[in-house]
Structures are given as structure tokens and as C-alpha cells.
């Protein structure tokens, strides 16, 4: 700040701490709840210090789910979420990076057409075409499968645009030098472009992993077998009709398991996460 006003600094810290508390409060309560017994929770008010049921609760949900809502064990669900998240991230990056390469470094008929086709996908999120997409997946026998979970989600073009933008900033001379050195297009892509794209790939991976992990509507539609549930929809299925009957301690334990992996990714790879966010919105 321009002037040196200690009280305004103090105020700033105050506001920020308040913000952090508000933001962290739900997480804190969730964690506490995941360490309590069912009875402790339904006795109002719920204690605000950790209980002693941590291992019991987490062990229970991982192995056998919650008693009243769904009986699906959460551990396999975590596995499904992992496969889906990694599949979406890797799949999207793979098809986008080669598309961007083709669009930037080649001139061919239909180039403009393909470019616009890919561009258009930015406009319609999957929720808007959800039911026909389900129909297409069903007719391709993709229900209750990993391919069905992953493939429809890699259709959008954010990654392609990121890579395209990046390639446009690479000096032409680098490609010319490679051409003179004898490198064909694929060689150039593998030896030069790909290594230079490493930070972008890392940034995108973080964003896409989180996107894939947190998908809700699509997995909801395409999976009907418990063995294929992801952890995010698994939680919803644990919550049966009336609130009082829900085993909130177990549900909260599942919620913690559902949000920990992406949260860890964000915090540990913060630099790439921020870069990925900012770049994909340009």
C-alpha cells in the first residue's frame, strides 16, 4: 500500500482471517463430524472438537458404505473417481495437443472448418445436451463403463485453445532450424514442441483432474451399477429421504474422502493450478 498505516494493515488481516474462517468452517465441521458417532451428531448441538471415531468411521465407509443409504463400499468408488479423473485429464490433453499442433503448423483444406467445429464446443456445456448424449452413449454400449464415463467429457476445446495459443508464441525459427536439421513434423513435435509444453501440460492436468473428479450429472446418468459409482455421486446416494435417518458421521467421512484428493492436488500444485486457471480462460 502506498501510505504506511498500521491499522489498515491490521484491518486487512482481520478481514482475511474472517474470510479464511468462513471458507474453512464447513470443512472443519465436516471433519469433526467424520470423527464422531451417530448419536453424538444427532444430539444437538454437535460438539466442535474431534471425536475418537476416525478410524472406525473411515474404515466403515471404505469397506461397506453407510448402513441406511447405500451399501456400496467407498473404496472402489474412490478407484472409479481416480480412473475417471485421470482418464479425462490424460484423454483431453492427448487429443487436444495433437489437434492444436495440426491446426497451427499445417495448412490444409478444411482447416478452418475443423477449427470452428472445435471452437463451437466451448459454447455448450454438457448439461445442455445431457439427455441425447446419454442416448448416444447407450447406443454405443457405453453405459456403466469407464469409456462411457470418460469419452463424452473430453469433447470440449479448452485444452486445444491453450495449446494453440502457446504454439503461436513459439518462434518460427525453431521449427525452421528443425526442418533444416532434418526433422519431419512428427519428429519436431516429439523432440521440440512436447518438451517445451511441459508446464502447460502440468497446469492443464491439475485443472482437468479436478474437473474429472468432480463430475456429477454425467456419472449420475451413465452409471446404474454400484460398482461403477464415483465417490461424488456415491455421497448423494447415501443421503436417503429423511434427514434424521441419515448416518451423517459416515456421510461426512465420505465427503472428506471425496474432497481430499482434488484439494491436495490444488494445494500441492498451486503454482500450476493458478497458471492453468488463468490460461484456460483467455
Amino acid at each position: 500500500m502506498v501510505e504506511n498505516r498500521p491499522w489498515s494493515d491490521f484491518l486487512a488481516h482481520l478481514v482475511l482471517i474472517a474470510g479464511v474462517i468462513v471458507v474453512a468452517f464447513p470443512l472443519y465441521v465436516t471433519f469433526i463430524a467424520s470423527t464422531l458417532t451417530y448419536d453424538q451428531i444427532i444430539t444437538v448441538p454437535m460438539p466442535l472438537t474431534p471425536g475418537d471415531q476416525l478410524f472406525e468411521n473411515y474404515g466403515q465407509v471404505l469397506r461397506a458404505g453407510s448402513g441406511k443409504g447405500s451399501h456400496a463400499a467407498v473404496l472402489p468408488m474412490l478407484g472409479n473417481s481416480l480412473v475417471m479423473a485421470i482418464g479425462v485429464a490424460v484423454g483431453k490433453i492427448a487429443i487436444s495437443i495433437i489437434s492444436a499442433f495440426a491446426i497451427v503448423y499445417f495448412r490444409f483444406p478444411l482447416r478452418r472448418l475443423f477449427f470452428w467445429m472445435i471452437f463451437v464446443t466451448l459454447m455448450l456445456p454438457i448439461e445442455v445436451r445431457i439427455i441425447p448424449t446419454y442416448g448416444v452413449a447407450a447406443s454405443l454400449h457405453l453405459l456403466n463403463s469407464y469409456s462411457g464415463l470418460i469419452l463424452p467429457l473430453i469433447a470440449s476445446a479448452t485444452a486445444t485453445f491453450l495449446f494453440r495459443q502457446f504454439y503461436l508464441t513459439i518462434p518460427d525459427e525453431l521449427a525452421e532450424a528443425a526442418r533444416i536439421d532434418g526433422a519431419g513434423p512428427l519428429r519436431f513435435f516429439w523432440d521440440v514442441l512436447l518438451p517445451l509444453s511441459r508446464t502447460n501440460i502440468a497446469a492443464l492436468f491439475v485443472i482437468l483432474f479436478i474437473l474429472g473428479w468432480n463430475q456429477y450429472l454425467w456419472p449420475l446418468l451413465i452409471t446404474s451399477e454400484e460398482s461403477m459409482y464415483t465417490v461424488v455421486i456415491g455421497i448423494k446416494r447415501m443421503i436417503s429421504g429423511g434427514d434424521a435417518a441419515n448416518e451423517w458421521n459416515l456421510i461426512m467421512a465420505t465427503a472428506m474422502l471425496a474432497l481430499l484428493p482434488p484439494a491436495l492436488v490444488v494445494v500441492l500444485m498451486q503454482k500450476w493450478f493458478v497458471k492453468g486457471l488463468v490460461e484456460t480462460e483467455k
Partner: protein
């Protein structure tokens, strides 16, 4: 934008774009076209045959009070989420930008909610506000508020707005922070020398220079509220009570999957598509071109 240098190959570029084009055609264009097509059909009760009814579905929708209510609900919801999300994160960003020590810690602590799935966010806040159990519900009861969002539509709306906004704060925060950091120090210093107080500096210099970011986030937040919040609604109120939180995208799902009204749901999808395209056009036209000074 074109590159000067170009590789020559007759077949390679096609092979390279093929996977993305294939996926795009199969899982984007084909369903989108189908949605359009279905919106012109009505299925018989047994799902055996369908008849072409032109704009009948659309006309029915426009006359359907539930649908129009859903429009209103969505408008209220998205404005509330966007406005509160932007206001709160702007405040936090301004404070964070000021603070020299601990800035990175605050940043880390404030951005992680982005990682939480909307559905999970919904569950967390539903727990906090659970009528007989939740800790916040308990405090509200102690304060004399009769809290039960399963029955009270306004309270249900409040719950989902809070859950949805909470998740979005970190995203907005990051963009505001980046925007604030790109404002040249020298402008603020010049204003200070001219005698402007911090508050004045903020409203007359910082805020206007931040307007591209603000406008951009406005569009993003509205799109988020329209679509990405499906999980929040489904995990908490399922559109209830009595449609109080049934936003448009939820209605598409509800009518199409739970209600098996293919034609009506498809017509709603088409209308939503038009809205989204409109928002995207607005974003590109005004946000991208709007350069401040």
C-alpha cells in the same frame, strides 16, 4: 493468427485432428442436433412412437407456469450467486493484495474450495443447515428463526445460494488478485500525491481499471450458476420444496430423466442452448474487446 512456417503433408494433419473431431462429432454435434430434433417431437405415453409437432413443445413451455417460474428462480439464483460471489471475493482480494506478509498463506487457504465438487459443497452446507441437526441450524433456532429448508422455499434458496457461492469465491478471488496486481503502482502513487484517500483511490481508479475482470467474472459466474450448480441442487433440495430451487438445468434433467418427457426436456435444452450461446457471444464481444484506456 497464422504461422509463417508450415509443414507439408497431405495426410498427417487429418490424422492428428481425427480423434478430437471424432469425439466432437459423436458426443457433441450429434447429441446437440438430436436435442434440436427431439424438441420438435412428442412421444406417446408408452414411448412407442413419436409425432412431429413443430413448435408445439415450445408453445407449451411458454405457457407452462412451472417453466416460467423456473426461469425466475434461475434468474434470482444466478444473480444472487454472481453478486455475492463477486463482492466477497473482491473484498478478500483487495485485502490480500495489501498484505505483504502472509499473502501466500492466505492465498493457499482461500483457493482450495475450488477443488470441492459442487455436489459435495451442497452436502457440506446441507449438513450445517440440517433442520434438526446442523450446527448453523441450531444457532439460528437459538436466535429465534424457525429454520427448515425442506419446507420453506426461501430458506432453501438461501441454502443453495450459500453453497454455490462458497465454492466460487476462490475462483473469483484468484482472478481479482491477478487483476489487482496488474494495475501499475505508479497510478496509485500519483493519485496519493494528488491527495486521494485509499477509499477514493479504490473507487475512482482501481475499480474502473478492474472492470474488464469484473465483467468477465460476471459472465463466468452466471454461466456457473446456470449449469455447474446442478450438483448443489441435486444433493440438497432436489429442486424443492415445491420447485423453489428448480433452476432451468435441473428442470431439464427432472423432466427428461425422472419425468420421461423427452420432447419437453429437449425443448428446454434448446432454449438453454440459446441462452448460453447468447452469453458466450456477449463475453466475446464485450469482454475481449473492452480494454480500459
Amino acid at each position: 493468427m497464422e504461422k509463417r512456417v508450415v509443414f507439408q503433408s497431405r495426410w498427417l494433419p487429418y490424422v492428428l485432428v481425427a480423434p478430437q473431431i471424432a469425439i466432437t462429432v459423436i458426443f457433441f454435434f450429434w447429441p446437440a442436433v438430436q436435442a434440436g430434433y427431439f424438441s420438435f417431437l412428442v412421444q406417446d405415453p408408452f414411448g412407442q412412437s413419436s409425432s412431429f409437432v413443430w413448435f408445439q413443445n415450445f408453445r407449451d413451455l411458454v405457457r407452462d407456469t412451472n417453466y416460467l417460474e423456473s426461469f425466475q428462480t434461475t434468474a434470482v439464483f444466478s444473480l444472487a450467486v454472481a453478486a455475492s460471489g463477486i463482492a466477497i471475493s473482491l473484498l478478500l482480494a483487495v485485502m490480500a493484495e495489501r498484505v505483504v506478509r502472509g499473502a501466500t498463506i492466505y492465498k493457499t487457504l482461500l483457493i482450495w474450495p475450488y477443488a470441492v465438487a459442487p455436489a459435495v459443497a451442497g452436502v457440506l452446507w446441507a449438513f450445517l443447515f440440517a433442520p434438526s441437526l446442523g450446527i448453523v441450524a441450531y444457532w439460528l433456532e437459538r436466535l429465534g428463526v424457525n429454520w427448515n429448508y425442506n419446507v420453506n422455499g426461501g430458506q432453501a434458496m438461501l441454502l443453495v445460494v450459500i453453497a454455490a457461492t462458497w465454492k466460487q469465491i476462490s475462483y473469483n478471488f484468484l482472478f481479482f488478485l491477478a487483476g489487482l496486481q496488474s494495475i501499475p503502482r505508479s497510478l496509485l502513487e500519483a493519485a496519493a500525491i494528488d491527495g486521494a484517500s485509499p477509499l477514493r483511490r479504490f473507487w475512482t481508479i482501481v475499480f474502473p481499471l478492474l472492470s474488464p475482470t469484473t465483467f468477465f467474472l460476471l459472465v463466468i459466474n452466471v454461466v456457473y450458476a446456470f449449469f455447474d450448480t446442478f450438483g448443489v441442487i441435486d444433493a440438497t433440495t432436489e429442486g424443492g420444496p415445491a420447485g423453489a430451487t428448480q433452476i432451468l438445468v435441473y428442470k431439464v434433467y427432472f423432466d427428461g430423466v425422472k419425468g420421461s418427457d423427452l420432447g419437453g426436456s429437449a425443448a428446454q435444452s434448446v432454449i438453454l442452448m440459446a441462452i448460453v450461446i447468447g452469453l458466450t457471444v456477449v463475453q466475446f464481444r464485450f469482454v475481449e474487446k473492452k480494454v480500459q484506456y
